[in-house]
Amino acid sequence: MGGCEHHQLGETSDEKGQVLLSRFSLSQSPSGSSELKMSEPTVADTRRLNSKPQDLTDAYGPPSNFLEIDVFNPQTIGVGRTRYTTYELRMRTNLPIFKMKDSCVRRRYSDFEWLKNELERDSKIVVPPLPGKALKRQLPFRGDEGIFEESFIEERRVGLEQFINKIAGHPLAQNERCLHMFLQEETIDRNYVPGKPQ
């Protein structure tokens, strides 16, 4: 058996008897963290803010802003000089402010003019323009059918559809009784009392 050196943990001694220090593990400071903290951040924290996870029925369900109005099926009613054209107005929506989620009415150009005037008078919104009145087409001695010309009716139909979709989606217009009456009641009562929808 030769010289057996016994070493205690953390201590070694050389022939001179000096105690050499071995590596100590990092001790915990009283605050519980051994980090050196800078008093000011040098790089901004750009991590996203916390947010609630989205409900899956909200994420994949139908959106609550569904509103579609179709202007179609023009029909010319009457004979001779008292003829006029009406258009079918079909509205489909899931907005709670409209009483009916699916409605269908017939309207003529002058009804659209009435709606435009009511909104311009009672609300603060800038009402979009209607397709033209086409007065020239109503003069006699034209080579064509005037305001009952197919191409003209189609042009007007498109314009009226754009107009009503624009207006019906406006939050301030939705607050006017005239719009609801125009879209969802069979006849327009021109003696109605303007105001908020009931």
Binding site: D45, R47, R48, K52, D58, N65, L95
Partner: protein, 339 residues
């Protein structure tokens, strides 16, 4: 400029003593052109030399005095005649007399107060400049040298987030949040928009930074709004429960610190404008003021400094033992930081 070709005329040149070491910054002039100027902070001394060079060698220059001024002034564009000087210092360089040869004069404005930041805006300008003048009977010889002053702030103690629920009854409800109310010029705006109710057809959403420069007082107040940035944060229709993140880096835009009622003459304020646009191009918006401030450059702490801080944590210990431990800790921490 002298109209008399047979007289003596002079050129003035102003040179700062620390021209080699002092930092220069870009500043936009009134016409939009950018140029570089020496940068100064509040309290710094402005010192240098005024070189007077005689144009016609041999002839004498008679004068009524030579002086140099340090001026800080506010100029309202609609009232150009009146300059509002809030700093006005003067040093006489030479008594009335005559110069027989080109001469250099030293000057020093010690620890000059520069309370406001240099600003060139749409309707108002705040500038600092040195002006050397050789007074003469018929026409003075004047030379001006503009400098730029920045005002620095430190991280505010109180910097609450901005969080609000806004909307239109039964149509659109959102909750917006911005992580701070005070941002420095190189900061990042981190926020989110949370949709509580969406009954309109949103096409996209953007956030704009608006600068409002206000000049005049009382009934003559005038606001000049400028959209500094437009940043789209969402494209498409959101539904209830969706959260849209915002991350807007300010360093890319031309911004100044918020200036409130500078010398009672003008203000420059900044607003975040959250805008939602629907399918029919209708705009729904909410404006919120934020405070912008200028941060000074941070000097990185050196290794030995970090070790010194660490060694202080071993109370009262000045032995080699604890210093070795402290340096080992600091080195371990620095390695961690570097990863």
């Amino acid at each position: 400029m002298s109209f008399f070709s047979f007289g003596q005329s002079a050129e003035i040149d102003i040179v700062l003593n620390d021209a080699e070491t002092r930092k220069k910054v870009e500043h936009k002039a009134e016409d939009g052109k950018k140029d570089k100027y020496f940068l100064f902070y509040d309290g710094e001394t402005v010192s240098g030399k005024v070189n007077v060079t005689l144009k016609n060698a041999g002839k004498r220059l008679e004068h009524q005095g030579i002086k140099i001024e340090f001026i800080g002034q506010i100029e309202l564009y609609y009232d150009r005649g009146n300059h509002h000087e809030f700093v006005s210092l003067v040093k006489d360089l030479a008594r009335p007399g005559e110069l027989t040869q080109s001469q250099t004069f030293d000057f020093e404005f010690t620890h000059v107060e520069k309370p406001y930041e240099s600003y060139t805006g749409q309707n108002v300008k705040l500038r600092y400049f040195l002006r050397a003048t050789i007074s003469r009977r018929l026409n003075d010889v004047v030379k001006e040298m503009d400098i730029v002053v920045h005002t620095l702030s430190t991280y505010p103690e109180l910097n609450s987030s901005i969080k609000m629920e806004v909307g239109i009854e039964d149509c659109l409800h959102i909750e917006f949040e911005y992580n701070k109310s005070k941002y420095h010029l190189k900061d990042v705006i981190v926020g989110k928009i949370y949709f509580l109710l969406v009954r309109i057809k949103v096409k996209h959403m953007e956030i704009d930074i608006i600068k409002r420069e206000t000049t005049g007082t009382g009934p003559n107040v005038y606001h000049e709004n400028e959209t500094i940035a437009k940043y789209e944060i969402m494209d498409g229709a959101p539904v209830r429960g969706e959260s849209i993140p915002i991350r807007l880096f300010l360093a890319g835009y031309e911004l100044t610190p918020t200036m409130r009622d500078i010398n009672k003459k003008f203000s420059v304020r900044y607003y975040l404008n959250l805008v939602l646009i629907d399918e029919e191009e209708r705009r729904y918006f909410k404006q919120q003021e934020i405070t912008l401030w200028r941060k000074g450059d941070i000097v990185r702490k050196s290794m030995s400094h970090q070790a010194a801080i660490a060694s202080q944590r071993f109370e009262g210990s000045s032995s080699i033992e604890s210093k070795m431990q402290a340096q080992a800790q600091a080195q371990a921490q620095a390695k961690e930081d570097g990863n």
